[in-house]
């Protein structure tokens, strides 16, 4: 009989609405990161580096990019005879069919998948964090404590603790209380949304709470286990970990990669991050180009100026163009003499000659001030920005825009142009 000690369930179905136009057509875990990767590469690489070779990836929102990226798992060595990666979308049943209504509900709907591997432990991961973690060490910890549930947690600055789910523990790290986004936090240990469950405990809880609407790990399953007197421990993690759930944190995490010795170092031999490499050729830096303090992906051609930026693969930055403090994702083209300041430009975007992005004074977003609030210009994938226009700060552009969409050739700070379609 097949028997896997620990399998992983990777939650990758969320939209990530706070990433605005970046996730209009792709699930958050499939968003590009760091000039080469997609966000989901980090948990997937952690899995294989930790010896977890059976991973169920739960998808729901806009899964196309995610599905083609994962394929049969070759880039992560997750193409296995037994186990490997399996994409698990919601499915129809003879009686009633449901979308995944919550994190735990999604796992519940895949009980059969987990059952087929006879696991002793199940690792619950989320597909939108940037970090390197050895899950095997966490499992050792789980076993040593004879725990039913282990929650990875990291200390955060006390003043920020009210933004997180906070764990209160006793001297032995056993969790005694939870506080979800407390106004006056009593601890600074924040849950990272990474759980190891002993399989029997998880199964029992999932079945018990199966009718809970929007069944969620943080809100329902963990409190249920706690009230049931289960042994729940906090596993303290002190390495680099970043939730890239907002445009601000996404931009920041990318920018941290270009520090001279980055806190999150991709250049170490140990603990490689794997991804599906879509391009092999080297990048070309032309005689008139200027490149300073940046990272640049494969096959990109730079004829202009790039500083403090993260440039993906297959990008072309034409002569005279200037890119500063920006993220340019794969296959985008910045035409001649365009100036791009503090922008996130998604995949396959064309920015017309002489266009200027990120100019002018700050103004709050008229589109969604909660999402667009970091002075950033955000351009969704497959968009086109016509030549010569000016785009202010805190703006969002998505779709094929034309000169007529820009009154006086301008999009003021805080403005937006979001068109349906795009040239997909």
């Amino acid at each position: 009989m097949v028997r896997k000690e620990m399998i992983a369930m990777l939650l990758a179905g969320g939209q990530g609405s706070r990433l605005g136009v970046l996730t209009q057509k792709v699930a958050k875990p499939a968003v590009s990161f760091g000039g080469k990767y997609r966000i989901i590469d980090f948990p997937l690489s952690n899995c294989i580096n930790s010896g977890v070779d059976t991973v169920g990836v739960l998808t729901q929102y806009q899964p196309l990019r995610l599905n083609t990226h994962i394929g049969i798992g070759i880039p992560w060595d997750l193409d296995r005879n037994v186990g490997g990666v399996t994409v698990l979308p919601p499915y129809e049943r003879s009686k009633g069919s449901d979308w995944y209504t919550g994190t735990a509900n999604a796992i519940y709907q895949n009980l059969e998948y987990m059952e087929s591997y006879n696991p002793e432990y199940v690792l619950i991961l989320s597909g939108d964090h940037i970090y390197k973690m050895d899950y095997e060490v966490m499992l050792e910890y789980h076993k040593a404590n004879n725990a039913d549930v282990t929650i990875a947690a990291m200390p955060v600055p006390m003043e920020e603790a009210s933004r997180f789910g906070i764990l209160i523990t006793d001297d032995a790290n056993r969790i005694t209380e939870f506080e979800e986004k407390p106004a006056n936090p009593r601890s600074n240990l924040a849950s990272m949304g990474i759980y190891i469950f002993s399989w029997k405990v998880l199964k029992e809880a999932l079945i018990k709470l199966k009718d809970e609407p929007g069944c969620d790990f943080g809100k329902h399953i963990i409190p249920y286990c706690h009230n049931d007197g289960r042994r729940i421990f906090a596993y303290e993690y002190n390495g680099y970990w970043k939730d890239v759930g907002t445009l601000g944190s996404y931009w920041e995490a990318n920018m941290e990669l270009i520090d001279i010795i980055p806190e999150f170092n991709l250049y170490e031999e140990y603990w490689k991050i794997y991804t599906k490499s879509e391009k092999i050729p080297p990048q070309f830096i032309s005689a008139e180009a200027k490149v300073g303090k940046s990272i640049i992906g494969e096959g990109t051609e730079i004829y202009g100026e790039v500083t403090n930026s993260v440039i993906g693969s297959g990008v072309v930055i034409e002569k005279g163009a200037v890119v500063r403090d920006s993220i340019i994702m794969q296959d985008s083209v910045i035409e001649a003499d365009a100036v791009v300041d503090k922008a996130i430009v998604a995949e396959d975007v064309r920015i017309g000659a002489g266009a200027r992005l990120g100019v002018g004074e700050y103004a709050p977003s008229k589109y969604d001030p909660k999402v667009y609030q970091f002075d950033l210009v955000t351009v969704g994938e497959h968009s086109v920005i016509p030549a010569g226009v000016e785009i202010g700060k805190n703006t969002a552009v998505s779709g094929v825009t034309e000169a007529s969409d820009y009154p006086d050739g301008k999009l003021e700070s805080g403005g937006y142009i979001v068109k349906a379609g795009g040239n997909v």
Binding site: P75, I273, P282, I285, K293, I296
Partner: protein
């Protein structure tokens, strides 16, 4: 496709000087991210050849490492596949491959057990793109016994290290001379052949019976009047890297926009083994001009008219000019390198200088200890 592929990748050349000390020519790194053999293999894959044998002998470890999986070229299939054949001792013989024809003879079973009617033979040291189907069509149209892919070289190129051919108006090869003393033709053989499988088996067996071992001398040259041998003219980029000068020049060719666009942007792609290295990193102090930079590189100094292969580290205040820096080289601070080929896995100390001449490139092999953080 109706052909199987065979890549002849066993060779060495004195013209490679120190560069072939640790690797076969077919394993030479090319254009930052590739190996020479990737071009023949990708062409075969892109021509829909499903079954490919790579014959290796000289320093075969280097090549075997690169060929550790067939999936990079899409050969990992139930139908067909990629096979790497190194010389082996059998009940019948215990020789090395004594020549190209002998290499084929020792692997005759592969030819006999295949069912495809044709064979594409290619060397592993050519840099080109070619749809072998076009050569096969030509081969059938001309009712040829053997078709040799040929290239007209510019008049000023010394062709004496190649096989020189002369053809009649129909394209049939009338003269074939290997490494001629005097070059009175500018048409050369690219070392790529199409031949009917049964015809090849017959020729190879006859060769073996006569104790002849070389495909070019003992088949092409010897049979040129007896068999219908045709030249298929290649009019796109082709380069053979089997000398230090040619190797250097071929890499530098990739700094030209038309060459880059032809190989990197135009369909179909050239494939290679994936290394999962992070994007190249430019730190303050990096000044890069007209250069190719591969993934995993970290740059702190200045680089001009050069090709950096994967995972190269350039220290502060370095000046690298007109040079090729191969994989995994560490260059300490304040070092000057001009007109050099720096061997892979080298560690170059800080404050050192290596200067070659434009017409006499220096090969740098430095195995110092490396201290990394």
């Amino acid at each position: 496709m109706r052909a199987i592929g065979i890549v002849l990748a066993g060779g060495n050349s004195k013209r490679m000087r120190e560069l072939s000390r640790k690797r076969a020519i077919a394993a030479m790194p090319i254009a930052g991210s590739f190996r020479s053999v990737d071009f023949a293999l990708s062409n075969m894959s892109n021509s829909h050849i499903q079954s490919v044998a790579v014959l290796t002998q000289y320093n075969s470890r280097s090549l075997n490492e690169h060929l550790s999986s067939s999936k990079w070229w899409d050969f990992g299939r139930k139908q067909g596949g990629m096979y790497v054949f190194t010389p082996t001792i059998t009940a019948e013989h215990s020789d090395w491959y004594r020549g190209t024809a002998d290499a084929l003879y020792q692997n005759l079973d592969f030819l006999k057990r295949s069912h495809e009617p044709y064979v594409v033979l290619a060397s592993g040291d050519g840099i080109y793109k070619l749809d072998y189907n076009k050569v096969l069509e030509y081969h059938i149209e001309k009712k040829a016994d053997i078709t040799v892919v040929c290239k007209d070289m510019p008049a000023d190129v010394d062709v004496t290290r190649f096989g020189m051919v002369k053809t009649n108006a129909d394209g049939r090869i009338t003269e074939f001379e290997e490494k001629p003393m005097v070059n009175d033709s500018t048409t050369i053989s690219c070392g790529i052949y199409v031949i009917r499988r049964r015809q090849l088996i017959e020729l190879i067996e006859r060769c073996a019976n006569e104790d002849r071992y070389d495909f070019v001398q003992d088949i092409l040259v010897r049979y040129k009047n007896l068999k219908r041998i045709y030249a298929y003219k290649l009019d796109t980029y082709w380069s053979n890297i089997a000398s230090v000068e040619a190797y250097y020049q071929t890499n530098m060719d990739f700094l030209k926009p038309e060459v880059r666009s032809y190989f990197f942007k135009e369909y179909p792609d050239i494939y290679s083994k994936i290394d999962d290295l992070p994007p190249a990193k430019y730190n303050p102090g990096a000044v890069v001009k007209n250069s190719l930079v591969s993934s995993g590189c970290i740059l702190n100094g200045s680089v001009e008219n050069s090709v950096l292969f994967k995972k190269v580290y350039i220290g502060n205040n370095c000046v690298i000019k007109n040079s090729i820096i191969m994989n995994d080289v560490y260059i300490g601070d304040n070092t000057v390198i001009e007109n050099c080929i720096v061997e892979s896995r080298d560690t170059i100390r800080a404050n050192t200088t290596y200067i070659g001449q434009p017409d006499d490139v220096k090969i740098v092999i430095e195995k110092n200890e490396r201290y990394t953080l």
